[in-house]
């Protein structure tokens, strides 16, 4: 199990079309719905919004990690999106989010998936990785950033 199994090429949004928090979340859920990872799009979308209502997953440093655990998810997966302009995500530091990771986890997720997500979350805390992700031009570049780190 590797990061490329969770974040497939079809789950990458090189540049987001939308620029508000709600519309960006919808755009990312729709992206995920194009694959076969969801069994119920609405349920997952609702789980993401509920999580966001607790407090924003905009963690600062230009990163947001909206996530939802829902029985509407078939298999753990990850949508990666970038926004050069930035999205106002009510982040802790008040700055816009440029790197967005949407994490979808089924109710009964297996530990391998959760461990990869944990590792990925850890990597995002390093500035060098964040910069490399902004500068990556292809899907393979993005995967390489995680794998090399």
């Amino acid at each position: 199990m590797q990061i490329r199994d969770l974040l497939t090429e079809s789950l990458m949004i090189d540049e987001l079309v939308n620029n508000t928090k709600d519309s960006v979340l919808t755009e990312m859920v729709e992206k995920l719905a194009l694959t076969d990872k969801l069994s119920n799009k609405e349920m997952f979308h609702k789980a993401v919004l509920e999580r966001e209502a607790e407090y924003s997953t905009g963690i600062g440093m230009g990163i947001a990690i909206p996530h939802g655990k829902s029985s509407g998810v078939k298999e753990a997966s990850l949508v990666f999106a970038r926004s050069k302009a930035g999205v106002d995500f009510d982040s802790m530091d008040g700055k816009p989010a440029h790197l967005l990771f949407m994490i979808a986890v089924p109710e009964a997720a297996n530990d391998d998936h959760l461990k990869i997500l944990g590792t990925l979350s850890r990597k995002l805390m390093h500035q060098s990785i964040r910069e490399a992700l902004m500068n990556a031009t292809t899907y393979e570049d993005v995967i390489a950033v995680f794998e090399d780190a």
Partner: protein, 456 residues
């Protein structure tokens, strides 16, 4: 500086780990040692050991869920939401190093700890009893089943030395059953006084057996031993250099001495006079009203299951056996002795929510022990809740005993349970006999259903 931290968030997927990493990075930049326990949805990873906590200069709890806190008693500690660690790790570390020490002293913690204390006090005696019982159960089932197996070779087969039947009886009856009461008493005392309780508990339990006071004597021995050790621990003050002698010499010797003397002279005396009185009473009842005699035998057989009262009734029953002839008294004795385990086995099925998981499992073995006339199969249940279980089984056995007499059932052998029912001429009035046992079993199960409380 050494710092330990715990991070946790409700979903446990991302924030937990980001906070952990942020703390690691910040600590690295500030040249501190950092170990972070993550409590995510995979469970606790990189868990803090007692050693880690002991060596730590400060503790950071960055969590939005409950984190076990007792282990941080007396450490400098700061508690914040998980996002604080992500956005402000360096600041957090500085604050932690100058934080107040954690003392479960804030109001809600205090209330919690008082509540817990009350809970454990209320459950004290019951908890001790259950500890003893749960250690005893496997001895009862192992011993009982092996004894029953020896009956397969014939009811008296074990009397032939060197046979498998004799070996089975020696293993089950002579060893596993002989350990039953010492184990019960030993672990009751262990629950009260920890390891030092085991010696006087087991010695007292062994004495309870040898003076014939049965499992009730064993329970007394266990509590006596536990509290004696507790008392000795508090009252004997040795200079520091001799403190090592307490667990290996002082406590075992004195506690065994005190408990042993009490068992022999205080408990033992009444037990043997009870024995004699019971025997005399039964003799006087014999030949008067047989239904009443059956009732009394039933009450006695169930009262202490293998203890002195039970043995008195059993010995009396065997005494009425004349070679080759069926005895009505013996029939009542065996029927009444089969009812307690059978009734409890039935009760674990009809009153599932009133028994612990362990007891329900023991209930399955109790079927086998009951039909084999191994009354001891009921002891674990009775020891766990004597006030409700003993009256229930006494009532069931009394009904069975008097019905057996009323139906004029007879039995020509002194033991065997179900194994003798199929031997021609061993039982007189077989159908009525089985009916008597079945009715008593239902009475016991019904009473337990009504009396016993649900397990919390």
């Amino acid at each position: 500086m050494k710092i330990v931290a715990v991070t946790a968030c409700p979903t446990g997927i991302a924030h937990t780990y980001m906070a952990a990493e942020a703390l690691n990075i910040a600590a690295g930049e500030m040249k501190h040692d950092m170990k972070v326990e993550t409590r995510g949805s995979v469970g606790a990873e990189n868990a803090l050991s007692d050693e880690d906590i002991k060596n730590a200069d400060a503790v950071i709890i960055a969590a939005d869920t409950n984190v076990p806190m007792e282990r941080f008693q007396g450490k400098k500690l700061i508690e914040v939401p998980v996002k604080e660690a992500i956005s402000n790790a360096q600041e957090l570390i500085k604050k932690a190093l100058t934080a107040d020490t954690y003392n479960a002293t804030n109001l809600s913690d205090q209330v919690d700890s008082i509540k817990n204390q009350k809970k454990s006090e209320r459950k004290g005696a019951y908890k001790h009893l259950m500890t003893g019982v749960s250690f005893m159960i496997p001895f009862v089932t192992a011993g009982g089943i092996l004894i029953a197996l020896s009956f397969v070779f014939g009811i008296e087969a074990f009397k032939e030395e060197g046979t498998i039947a004799a070996a089975l009886m020696q293993i089950g009856g002579g060893s596993a059953f002989a350990l039953m009461i010492p184990i019960l008493a030993g672990y009751i005392a262990y629950s009260i006084a920890d390891r030092p309780g085991i010696v006087p508990g087991m010695v007292g339990g062994m004495l309870a057996s040898s003076i014939g006071s049965g499992f009730l004597g064993g329970i007394i021995a266990g509590f006596l031993a536990g509290y004696t050790v507790e008392f000795l621990k508090k009252s004997i003050k040795l200079p520091r250099s001799m403190a090592g002698l307490m667990p290996v010499l002082i406590l075992p010797v004195f506690s065994s001495l005190v408990v042993g003397l009490l068992m022999i002279f205080v408990i033992g005396g009444p037990v043997s006079s009870i024995n004699n009185a019971m025997n005399g009473w039964l003799q006087s009842l014999n030949g008067t009203n047989s239904t009443v005699l059956g009732l009394v035998i039933g009450l006695m057989m169930a009262f202490d299951m293998g203890g002195p009262v039970n043995k008195a009734a059993y010995t009396f029953g065997v005494g009425t056996l004349v070679a080759g002839q069926a005895s009505e008294v013996m029939a009542a004795v065996m029927a009444a002795g089969m009812v307690p385990p059978l009734g409890l086995a039935l009760a674990t099925i009809v009153a599932k929510n009133k028994f612990s998981h362990e007891e329900k499992e023991a209930g399955k073995a109790a079927w086998a022990l009951g039909i084999s006339f191994i009354t001891e199969g009921a002891i674990p249940f009775a020891a766990a809740d004597p006030a409700r279980v003993i009256p229930s089984i006494m009532a069931g056995s009394a009904v069975t005993g008097s019905l057996s007499m009323l139906f004029k059932c007879g039995l020509a052998v002194p033991h065997g349970g179900i194994f003798v029912l199929f031997i021609p001429n061993a039982v007189v009035n077989l159908a009525a006999y089985v009916l008597a046992i079945a009715i008593g079993t239902c009475v016991t199960a019904g009473l337990i259903f009504g009396l016993k409380r649900e397990v919390v």
